[in-house]
Symmetry: C2
Subunit: 348 residues, 2 copies
């Protein structure tokens, strides 16, 4: 994917379902300048910020898109006929197609045949690349500083925290790279590996490969997108493989303010943040002991007073700087993390 | 696989390489009564214990095998022509074929076509079954007691410890099941899932499914074969997914006596056993806090005095019973673990 991609986001049906379209929303928030149109017939004629919403692929072509992104997972998993036709229309119009679906478009005979005829690329964001293996040790042999987001649960904003801190670092003039490890991060950044979709033996090897690529892209400070949680009953294996393979120098511990249980399940009470700090530090790669540098709180569900109280409580519990980088901006968190790197305190 | 299988072990070339044939050796040690012959032309005419060694598939047929096991991984990964012919001979002779190779025999067009014609089953021990998903909670809703082997490193005998403790429990009259999680365990027990070969998101779900199957097989005390190590730079993700998915009540911590570094790599010093005990207990599934019940030491590389000293040192460090279940028999370890279960001390 080049940085000159001009995206048509396929979001048909998204207006009826606020939970659909995590990938579309991520790209619209963090790469709006790459989006030339959104396809959602129910809202055709409206705009999302400055981006026009269109009713059909044909209506988007005047805006000169180079690629289409399947930005909404249609209910049920398999592509319904109307959605299949959208993908066919995009290929026929000469657009590359990127998809975060579990069902791979590259393994669909009709799509693959059409794409070959038309000379366009199909790309499954969740599909593991060939040639993965276990780590080689290259994760310990580069000069960049690696910061990994970890968390008390899934889906609480680890990717957002990494992206906000990357943006703060770039504003400070640092050669910073966001390192994507899941489909939405990949759709935003245009590269990466969905580490939850690789063969279990190769989680750490995939994470190492991503860090090496972040260095090759010029990153001196890498913000690796975290996945899952060490304490999550389903996804902890991915989390630990990502920790050991990315070999971070520092963690940012993410938590949803007010949350008391993983997945709201009464069987899985979230321990105090200070215990989570300790657990992550103890389980760091033996060859690279890592510290938690700061706490990132997601306070979206709290009012201003409750958010301030949650931030103060997290600081009192852990002795670390805590903040919500979306509500309050990332600069205070970024300064605390920068000060914990070998780089020392950031310039004022 | 039924319990009436009569195995021909394909071990061609194994006599020249002491490191080849882990799967063959495991089956010969733990299921010798199921093995009717070993194929290794360099040793044809000899015996392994009571089991005859033959030069060809034809020479084995008089012993009435029902299945062949590819018990040696030929160097290089891909099956060389002579090995392919052995597999073809087995299929042509009406034998089912089980394989622990990374290259799947079920996806080989020649083998698959021949097997369909002959009506025999091909089985890849490392191939993930269809329909895996994340855990459902069934790992918390059965009445069996689950004991998982964990360790300071890979390839130090976790499977052997689980098998020896299963045998001790059976001798004590307990409804005990060994739960296989890797290719050799699967070849020995005739069922199981190689959890390192599943999609990363489904490690815990695969482990849960195995525990449920162990209960369905009548197990009241389950010995789950451990994989990797929480501290291993390559395989820790598999280890933690297995811990959270199998949801053990107790751990047995395995360690190779005298080992100081993971994979003998100076970057990865093994912490004191007491720290490893603490780490495993802290990272247990939140819904089922688990304790380490005993330490299993592999003292194969030590003389008698050094082995006794290593066992004494492990006991002094951890305050737990430590022993080598191969050198000294499993009964002392088994008694300590049994006493830590809700069942209490075993009968004298």
């Amino acid at each position: 994917m080049s940085h000159e991609r001009r995206l048509l986001i396929l979001a048909e049906g998204a207006s009826g379902d606020p939970h659909a379209g995590k990938t579309a929303r991520g790209v619209l928030r963090y790469r709006p300048k790459e989006v030339v149109a959104i396809l959602d017939s129910a809202r055709a004629g409206e705009r999302h910020g400055e981006i026009p919403i269109v009713a059909s692929v044909a209506d988007a072509l005047g805006l000169d898109p180079t690629a289409a992104l399947v930005g909404v997972a249609p209910a049920g998993g398999r592509l319904p006929p109307a959605w299949r036709q959208l993908v066919v229309d995009c290929i026929a119009a000469g657009l590359d197609v990127e998809s975060g679906l579990h069902e791979f478009i590259t393994e669909d005979a009709e799509f693959a045949t059409l794409a070959a005829e038309r000379g366009v690329d199909l790309r499954d964001l969740r599909k593991a690349p060939p040639g993965l293996n276990v780590p080689t040790g290259a994760n310990l042999e580069h000069d960049a500083t690696v910061v990994l987001t970890v968390g008390s649960d899934c889906a609480i904003g680890k990717m957002t925290v990494s992206l906000e801190l990357d943006a703060a670092a770039r504003r400070a003039g640092i050669a910073s790279e966001f390192v994507p490890t899941g489909q939405t991060g990949i759709a935003i950044a245009g590269w990466g590996i969905s580490v939850d979709a690789v063969v279990a033996d190769f989680i750490a090897g995939a994470a190492e490969r991503l860090v090496v690529e972040g260095v090759e892209r010029g990153g001196e400070l890498l913000w690796v997108e975290g996945q899952g949680s060490l304490l999550h009953p389903s996804y902890s294996g991915v989390t630990l493989g990502l920790i050991h393979g990315s070999a971070p120098h520092l963690y940012v511990l993410c938590h949803k303010g007010g949350a008391t249980h993983i997945d709201d399940n009464p069987r899985f009470p979230i321990p105090p943040l200070s215990k989570l700090v300790d657990l992550h530090e103890r389980i760091s790669l033996l060859a690279r002991p890592a510290k938690v540098a700061a706490i990132a709180l997601n306070t979206a569900s709290l009012d201003d007073a409750a958010a301030a109280a949650a931030i103060a409580a997290a600081e009192a519990d852990t002795g670390l700087v805590a903040d919500d980088p979306v509500r309050n901006g990332p600069d205070r968190l970024f300064a605390a993390i920068h000060a914990a790197t070998p780089l020392g305190p950031p310039p004022p």
